[in-house]
């Protein structure tokens, strides 16, 4: 009996020690590999909790299986009584205290990690970028301090803390901003401005999507963050500023793909919204403006708060690239 106890104890210890190693190998057993300090803090908390979760899981399932095997009926009579044990106060106290200790450890670890997850690193290093993120049915709009607007794909500088002000217009619904590699999610709520941040050191594209049911095309409300080396980002911001003033460039295309195509199809072939290819409305800038600003029947007013620059970008894009329908 004692040998068995040692065996079980040894197995549990081995399991507790190997769990973090096994979990570190990503196959969906840990959150997406972090690329920002806040995501890292969350991943570490996850791994810390996992040590206890895994140990308790093995303990309980192990005892369950051991008891099932050891105390099965075998050749005993069907209704023969088992041991007449009604309870044990000491045991009750023991297994009430045991989770309290574990929960205390978990809580303490979370509070230690919390500042690194929650607080934007202080701007002591110099620059910090602020971007306003607006969730809309069914696209993300980003506004940079110099007035540059981008849709769905956010450009950001590597190595710089980026502070995000996340919200949604009053006439819209709740969305949730989430790029798993760059931290946890935060809801975009009409009438409220929430904050989050990230600081990605490695240039690359990090993807995510809206995480709060927001209507028919919730599934297509994708978001990505393209992290560029700092100089490249500065150049991008300049170029976009100039394009926007000139009424040309990528914004129109982004608007078409983000705000129109998710319901009407990439080439206007129609989807949950009607076919747009060949529609006379598209050729009439005023009609387009009226449509995006006010919506129509079940179509949300996707451009209700747009600047005139934004509307012009879309109409200019449509003029040059009328949807082909296929």
């Amino acid at each position: 009996m004692r040998a068995k106890l040692f065996l079980i104890g040894g197995l549990l210890l081995a399991a507790a020690l190997t769990a973090p190693v096994a979990l570190a190998d990503n196959g969906g057993f840990t959150p997406v590999a972090p690329e920002s300090p806040n995501a890292e803090g969350i991943r570490d908390s996850y791994l810390f909790v996992s040590i206890f979760v895994f140990s308790i899981f093995v303990l309980v399932e192990g005892l369950l299986i051991a008891f099932i095997v050891r105390y099965r009926r075998r050749k005993r009579a069907r209704f023969e009584d088992g041991a007449p044990i009604h309870g044990a106060t000491k045991l009750e106290l023991l297994w009430s205290a045991f989770p309290v200790v574990i929960l205390f450890l978990i809580g303490a670890f979370v509070f230690i990690e919390l500042p690194g997850i929650k607080d934007v690193p202080s701007a002591a290093t110099g620059d910090q970028l602020e971007i306003r993120v607006t969730g809309r049915q069914y696209y993300w709009q980003y506004e940079y301090p110099n007035g540059v607007i981008a849709i769905d794909t956010m450009a950001a500088p590597a190595g710089v803390p980026v502070r995000l002000e996340v919200t949604s217009p009053d006439d819209d619904v709740i969305h949730s901003w989430w790029i798993p590699a760059l931290g946890g999610k935060i809801d975009a709520i009409p009438g409220t401005v929430n904050e989050t941040w990230f600081q990605a050191d490695t240039p690359g594209t990090y993807t995510g999507q809206c995480a709060e049911l927001c209507g028919l095309e919730h599934a297509r409300m994708l978001a990505s963050v393209e992290v560029l080396p700092e100089a490249e980002f500065a150049a991008w911001l300049e170029r976009r500023r100039a394009e926007q003033t000139a009424g040309s460039g990528e914004l129109g295309k982004e608007e078409w793909e983000g705000a129109c195509a998710k319901c009407h199809g990439l080439s206007g072939e129609g989807g949950i919204g009607p076919k747009l290819a060949g529609s006379i409305v598209l050729a009439d800038p005023e009609a387009v403006e009226n449509l995006v600003r006010n919506g129509r029947r079940t179509m949300p007013a996707v451009g209700s708060g747009w600047t005139s620059e934004q509307v012009e970008a879309l109409t200019a894009y449509l003029k040059e690239n009328p949807p082909s329908g296929s």
């Binding site: 969906g28 057993f29 959150p31 997406v32 995501a39 969350i42 979760v53 308790i56 899981f57 309980v60 399932e61 005892l63 008891f67 099932i68 105390y71 005993r76 209704f79 023969e80 009584d81 088992g82 041991a83 007449p84 044990i85 009604h86 309870g87 044990a88 045991l91 009750e92 297994w95 989770p99 309290v100 929960l103 809580g107 979370v110 509070f111 919390l114 929650k118 709740i174 989430w178 798993p180 946890g184 999610k185 935060i186 809801d187 709520i189 009409p190 409220t192 904050e195 995480a211 709060e212 049911l213 927001c214 209507g215 028919l216 095309e217 919730h218 599934a219 297509r220 994708l222 949950i272």
Partner: protein
């Protein structure tokens, strides 16, 4: 009885009519259970359609609106029309028998409860035919999405929940009064079966939190606009453009919604506490600890709701409080699990179908409980909230917890309700199909969530999610087969099931003292109760009298 039968008007004596007008708690219990099983099959079929759509990237089985309708009604139905009524049905049947009463305290109110449930269920299911289809805002119906939704589906959803709320409140009052005032002689609070304890807490929780849900729903309805004769009512409780707060609704919903989880899981715990000792041939380990933990869980479940709101931007001290409060629930829950394990310790365990389900419950519920720790730790929740990780978590607690326990209960009490035992071979096949299918369907969903798949998306383009999704879909269809086996078993048993007498399991509680099925008045006499195991005491006394050393 003959004299009483004559007082029943002729039109009420027919086979169908007698069920329609019945106020017998046992018949009402069976009505609840059978109606809920029909809804179970309907809501299950909805999930199979959803799983088909998600089995591959970019699938086109369902349109987005149909998809959103199906997830909304699947979730709402599984909670309000399946889990709660199945437990209410079992409780209806069993509580009076377990406490040695002739019926519940208010038999007519009981019938009203059932028929309101029937009506609410019908309204919800028929809302698919409403203008604009059924509700599409998820079972949580967050505004502004739900207030902006066109058509009547959302209004009917609110109406249905209002009706179901009234039904549950009436039922809760009935259970409380019954348990407090109709216990038989000698049945003190600490001699009451643990299932009855769980129903006591179930009922108090319903009383405490349903009014808040009803209030939230009423505000939602008013925000959607209401026309009564010449008056148009249009409020803005949740409309930020006019100073309202959409998050207010989330508080109202989850103040109800989180205890609702325990409203479902506590009676499931109660079933497990009845089944395990009988098949381990031991008294339950730590009766008072289990009863106490039921009360503790009930209390704490009411002060943890905002852990569902960790991503709305609550102040950090508030999030910290809700983390700590949520984690505290792990203590009484752990107590239960260890007490159940200790009940098996040094037992004489038989593996009849009810026991298989109870053991299956133990093995999967642990998983659901443990993943809850990640969700309670708010920074981790920021990562996994509203993903498939959460979907996996609550299916492990609600399906792995409640449904496994309900099947344990149905197989255990079936011989009492119908005098015939459900086929053991089919029952065991069904268990293994359900156990394997369930884990295959829901375990991979944890991993999908961690990889970044949000819940409630009708499609996805990321092909790296396909493997786990396909596994999950296959698992869900295996579960479908398991449910089909149960239906076959019920039909087969009703025709040719073995009759096994009044007490086939040699159980300890009073419901096994009467005949199977029991007469309309339940008992001719009830023994004086001197412990939590009155039938065990009786058997021992008989054994002593006859001088036999063999168990009866």
């Amino acid at each position: 009885m003959a004299a009483r039968a004559e007082t029943v008007p002729a039109w009420q004596r027919g086979k169908v009519a007698s069920w329609l007008v019945t106020t017998d708690h046992k018949r009402i219990g069976i009505l609840y259970i059978s109606t809920a099983l029909v809804f179970f099959i309907l809501a299950g079929l909805m999930s199979l359609a959803v799983r088909l759509q998600l089995s591959q990237a970019n699938a086109e089985v369902l349109s987005p609106d149909r998809y959103n309708e199906l997830i909304t009604i699947h979730g709402t139905a599984m909670v309000f029309l399946v889990a709660v009524p199945l437990l209410a049905g079992l409780a209806n049947y069993l509580v009076p028998l377990m406490i040695g009463a002739r019926d519940v305290a208010f038999p007519r109110l009981n019938a009203l409860s059932y028929w309101l449930f029937f009506l609410g269920g019908a309204v919800l299911m028929l809302s698919f035919f409403a203008k604009g289809g059924a509700a599409q805002a998820g079972w949580t119906a967050y505004p502004p999405l739900s207030t902006q939704a066109p058509g009547n589906g959302q209004d009917l959803w609110i109406l249905s929940l209002h009706i179901l709320t009234a039904s549950s409140l009436a039922g809760a009052i009935n259970f409380i009064v019954t348990i407090h005032s109709l216990r038989t002689r000698g049945m003190t609070w600490t001699r009451m079966p643990l299932f009855v304890w769980s129903i006591e807490l179930y009922a108090w929780l319903l009383m405490a939190v349903l009014p808040t849900l009803a209030a939230g729903l009423t505000l939602l309805l008013l925000d959607r606009g209401l026309s009564i004769g010449p008056w148009d009512v249009q409020t803005n409780f949740f409309n930020p453009a006019e100073g309202g707060s959409p998050v207010l609704y989330q508080h109202a919903f989850w103040f109800f919604g989180h205890p609702e989880v325990y409203i479902i899981v506590l009676p499931a715990f109660g079933i497990i506490s009845e089944v395990l000792p009988v098949f381990a041939r031991k008294p339950v380990f730590g009766y008072k600890a289990i009863a106490f933990s039921t009360v503790a869980i009930g209390f704490f479940s009411m002060i943890v709701w905002a852990h569902h709101l960790f991503t709305v931007g609550l102040p950090i001290p508030l999030q910290a409080y809700f983390m700590i409060a949520s984690m505290i629930i792990a203590v009484p829950t752990g107590m239960k699990i260890f007490n159940w394990l200790a009940t098996l310790w040094r037992g004489n365990i038989s593996f009849d179908t009810p026991m298989l389900y109870a053991l299956g419950f133990l093995s999967v519920f642990v998983m659901g409980g443990l993943t809850g720790i990640y969700l309670a730790a708010f920074p981790i929740d920021w990562q996994v909230h509203d993903t498939y990780f959460v979907v996996a978590h609550f299916h492990y607690t609600l399906f792995g917890g409640a449904v496994f326990a309900i099947f344990a209960g149905l197989h255990y009490w079936w011989p009492k309700m119908f005098g015939r035992i459900l086929d053991e071979r089919l029952g065991k096949w069904q268990f293994w199909a359900l156990f394997v299918g369930f884990n295959l369907a829901f375990f991979p969903q944890h991993l999908l969530g961690l990889e970044g798949m949000p819940r409630r998306i009708y499609t996805y383009a990321d092909e790296s999610w396909e493997g786990y999704n396909l596994a999950s879909t296959i698992g869900s269809y295996v579960m479908g087969v398991a449910i089909l086996l149960f239906v076959v078993n019920v039909v087969k048993t009703s025709r040719s099931g073995a009759r096994v007498g009044n007490d086939p399991w040699q159980a300890d509680t009073l419901e096994w003292y009467t005949t199977s099925p029991p007469p309309p008045h339940n008992f001719d006499d009830v023994p004086y109760v001197t412990s939590a195991r009155p039938l065990y005491d009786l058997r021992r006394k008989l054994r002593e009298k006859s001088g036999s050393r063999e168990p009866l």
